[in-house]
């Protein structure tokens, strides 16, 4: 071929070029970790941090913040995180169509269905429960959905970091539920929120 002066010179370089290109493609198609993971980590660190300040570790609050205010902070932060993640997902899914978009759509609907059922169950049970148990129920159930969805999404996309993040979320959640509302909020803020922040930075740096 005479029309392509930039033909790769050596077989080694050609193989390296192929590997680099494939790695770059996979990275771009996975989406931006700073949009997909970081906002959730920050939202949970702040939101569950506020919940922790309300409950404290021994039943006495650490700051003059009501449960409604704390949950308001958490909800607000999650809405913001959802907006960032939605933008990241929209940008990612624009790139490809075919089986990948079908997988993405089914995963998205599973999130919505899981969260909807979780809310129905929690609303129904909250009526009969004291304040602390209500908090444990909502946090415990929502993180059950989050953890499971991350583990299952990891299975769909064959993404080990996402799988471990889901498993980590479930393990922290289980521990928190057993220890009570204050501990649960503290553990989720630091370990799950912090875990998502760390994961997003690590995924970003990964070659």
């Amino acid at each position: 071929m005479t029309d392509d002066p930039e033909a790769p010179p050596t077989p080694e370089e050609t193989l390296r070029l192929i590997e680099r290109q494939q790695a770059a493609t996979v990275r771009q198609l996975k989406g931006e970790p700073l949009l997909l993971y970081l906002p959730w980590g920050v939202a949970w660190l702040i939101g569950f941090g506020a919940v922790f300040l309300h409950f404290g570790l021994d039943g006495r609050g650490l700051a003059p913040i009501s449960q409604m205010q704390a949950v308001g902070v958490l909800q607000g932060a999650q809405v913001l995180a959802g907006a960032f993640a939605g933008f990241g997902i929209a940008r990612r899914s624009r790139q490809v169509r075919g089986d990948a978009s079908a997988r993405g759509a089914m995963t998205g609907y599973s999130w919505a269905a899981g969260m909807a059922l979780m809310i129905v169950i929690c609303v129904r049970l909250s009526i009969a429960l004291p304040e602390e148990e209500v908090q444990i129920l909502w946090t415990g159930a929502s993180l059950l959905v989050v953890g499971l969805m991350y583990m299952m999404s990891a299975a769909v996309w064959l993404e080990w970091p996402m799988f471990f993040l889901g498993a980590w979320t479930i393990a922290v959640d289980a521990t928190g539920v057993m220890l009570g509302a204050g501990w649960q909020a503290l553990l989720v803020a630091v370990l799950v929120g912090g875990g998502f922040i760390a994961a997003s930075l690590w995924l970003r740096r990964r070659p």
Binding site: M1, D4, E6, P8, P11, L17, Q21, Q22, Q95, V96
Partner: protein, 108 residues
Amino acid sequence: MTADATPPPELDPVIHAQARLRVVAALNTLGDRDEMAFPALKDLLGMTAGNLSVHLTKLEDAGYVRITKTHKGRTPVTYVGLTKRGRLAFDEYTRAIRALLDHAGGSS
């Protein structure tokens, strides 16, 4: 038969050009029925739209990629996917390159 007597495997000239090799390598990471939007492919490869179009036409003429022009709402979108033939050609190309590498390593 000695290693020196083995002729180097023929390299597919359509894929051997660096730009087209990168296009095919990128598309080969997608699933069999997945297609990539033209702008995403352009950004990924850092090529101009014109340059990428020229290479895609050559790949399409060889039967290695399928190009689908469609509409998303009112915006026209072009999707590019690797055909079975393109996938096969890429597999054969990488096998040939590896063979060349082994050949070079064995004879030196």
